[in-house]
């Protein structure tokens, strides 16, 4: 986990710098357009009639559009200079659109006055150089990355963990009822051979079997919001057989693999979305999806069976596992009698 986290950060920072530089505007492209706009703005502001001013501005609509396009990729208000530059572009665009609307529009006069004031401000702040553009683009990229990262920290709690409290309570409550009625155990007996292959070190009477079964069932019927609570319950049950407590056991890795490679058979939510987009082939995705899922799950299982051999399994051996299971079941018995 340490390596994955460090790699994600390192790659993120590296590509962040790259993307920032990539987004930098080319001064060679910006400069001529800027000159064209500067010339036309000066001419328009000093033009004798509104019609003449409109003519000057109409002539620069192309470089203006290109500049505004480029400026849109830069951060708003990063430096005073860039902000003034961008406001000037906005102002020039407003003036140009006013000039096409009607040549003697009073809006044009005020737009021109606004433009003149802003242009003077840009000139005062100094020229736009290639350095200005690079700094602005890099700064924008850094800002975006920092904001996205911290925003995610908030949403991880508010949108994932908090809703999960309610969903976990609901589905674990239902599962408890199903367990007490003997439904889970009956289903688990039927799937014993499969479980023996996937989770060889989990004793057959361990409560993890029921939890794993329920999570698989929720996955298969595409019940997304029940699958996570039930799988987490299964992880906790498997943890009772984990002697190390901080290292993943073979069985926990297998549960992770089965869930992450998805064993959904009926993707209700995607079919629902497709119907909403008036698809004529909404449920035709089921067969190709089952085939694709089969390949991803099979690949995951086989690879995990190989990878798990490369490090020791912290799970209890057969005798220890049997002892732990007997203890848990005795506890459950006592609790039931109370």
């Amino acid at each position: 986990m340490n390596h994955i986290l460090a790699a994600l950060f390192a790659i993120g920072i590296l590509f962040g710098v790259y993307t920032g530089l990539e987004n930098t505007l080319d001064i060679g492209e910006v400069q001529p357009r800027l000159e064209a706009v500067r010339g036309a703005v000066t001419a328009a502001v000093t033009a004798p009639t509104p019609a003449a001013a409109a003519g000057h501005l109409a002539a620069i609509s192309e470089p203006l559009a290109a500049l505004s396009d480029q400026a849109a990729r830069l951060p708003r208000g990063h430096t005073e200079r860039m902000q003034a530059f961008q406001e000037t572009l906005d102002s020039a665009l407003a003036a140009a659109s006013a000039s096409t609307a009607a040549s003697i529009d009073p809006a044009l006069a005020s737009a021109l006055a606004d433009l003149e004031a802003r242009w003077t401000r840009v000139e005062e702040l100094g020229p736009i150089t290639s350095q200005t553009l690079t700094v602005a683009a890099l700064s924008a990229q850094g800002k975006r990355m920092f904001e996205d990262t911290t925003e995610r920290a908030k949403s991880a709690v508010l949108e994932i963990a908090f809703p999960l409290i309610g969903l976990m309570a609901f589905w674990l409550g239902i599962m408890r009822v199903a367990e007490e009625a003997g439904i889970v155990q009956a289903l688990a007996r039927g799937l014993r051979p499969l479980f023996k292959f996937l989770f060889p070190k989990v004793p057959r009477d361990h409560p993890a079997n029921g939890a794993i079964l329920m999570s698989m069932a929720a996955n298969i019927i595409g019940l997304d919001n029940a699958a996570t609570p039930l799988s987490l319950k299964a992880m906790k049950e498997l943890q009772t057989l984990n002697l190390d407590k901080e290292t993943l056991t073979d069985a926990q890795g297998m549960l992770l693999t089965l869930n992450a490679t998805s064993i959904t058979l009926v993707p209700f939510s995607i079919i629902g979305y497709r119907l909403a987009y008036s698809s004529q082939l909404a449920s035709d995705i089921v067969v190709p999806m089952i085939i694709a899922t089969f390949f991803s799950t099979l690949t995951g299982i086989v690879l995990w069976k190989i990878v798990q051999r490369m490090s020791p399994d912290p799970a209890a051996g057969p005798e220890e596992a049997a002892r732990i299971t007997a203890e848990i079941n005795a506890d459950l018995q006592r609790e039931a009698h109370r």
Binding site: M1, L5, L8, F9, G12, I13, F15, T19, M145, D148, T149, R152, A153, A156, A161, I165, M168, F170, L172, G173, I174, R176, V177, E179, E180, A181, I221, T228, L232, M235, Q239, K245, E246, L248, G253, L256, T257, N259, A260, T261, S262, T264, I270, Y273, R274, L275, L281, A282, D284, I285, M289, I291, A292, T293, S296, T299, V307, Q308, M310, S311
Partner: protein
């Protein structure tokens, strides 16, 4: 189609009802047992927060860095080898990282290419045949406070890759054979 919708909306409700009804008939004290089970939920949901924040923030940084766009251009030739439409490559890259993001991308593909076009169809198949791997890793390990994962991410991501390749090839075949 309306029947499917009806089934979809009643199926889960029916299962829940059957479980509760059967348990009640068999003399299970359904209310007390429900409460006992539900109590566990709170601890787990709170326990996973540090793990979620660590992994999802790293993923968010990675996504915002623009690395995906670069990877996308590198991977486009490999994708076209198996007849993968270029719009599907970002979906394959995003799927293990973000559930909401990849759903948005799938809908975008539907809107630009058409929901019943081959890319739109394949996008749905890809979306349905994989999960948000990083989220699952964070939540599952977080729930039991496991820190060392023994390299399980490799099999998970390669499983996703195998699923995506299968999704593209199977969708092409299925689309040409039955739907076109």
């Amino acid at each position: 189609m309306i029947w499917l919708d009806l089934f979809n909306n009643w199926f889960i409700l029916a299962i829940i009802f059957l479980i509760v009804a059967y348990a009640w008939i068999r003399g299970v004290r359904v209310y007390e047992e429900f409460i006992r089970g539900a109590k566990e939920g709170f601890d787990v949901a709170v326990l996973i927060i540090p793990y979620l924040v660590a992994i999802l923030c790293a993923v968010a940084l990675f996504r915002a860095s623009g690395a995906m766009q670069v990877l996308q251009t590198w991977l486009a030739p490999a994708g076209s080898l198996i007849g993968m439409h270029s719009s599907l490559i970002p979906l394959a890259l995003l799927k293990p990282l973000s559930g909401g993001g990849s759903r948005g991308l799938m809908i975008e593909i539907w809107e630009t290419e058409g929901v019943d076009s081959l890319p739109g169809f394949t996008a749905s198949v890809m979306q349905g045949s994989a999960e948000t791997t990083f989220y699952i890793l964070a939540v599952y390990c977080g729930a039991v406070a496991v820190r060392r994962t023994r390299g399980v991410l490799g099999p998970l991501l390669l499983g996703d890759l195998a699923g995506f390749i299968a999704a593209v090839l199977v969708s092409r075949w299925y689309f040409a054979a039955f739907l076109d």
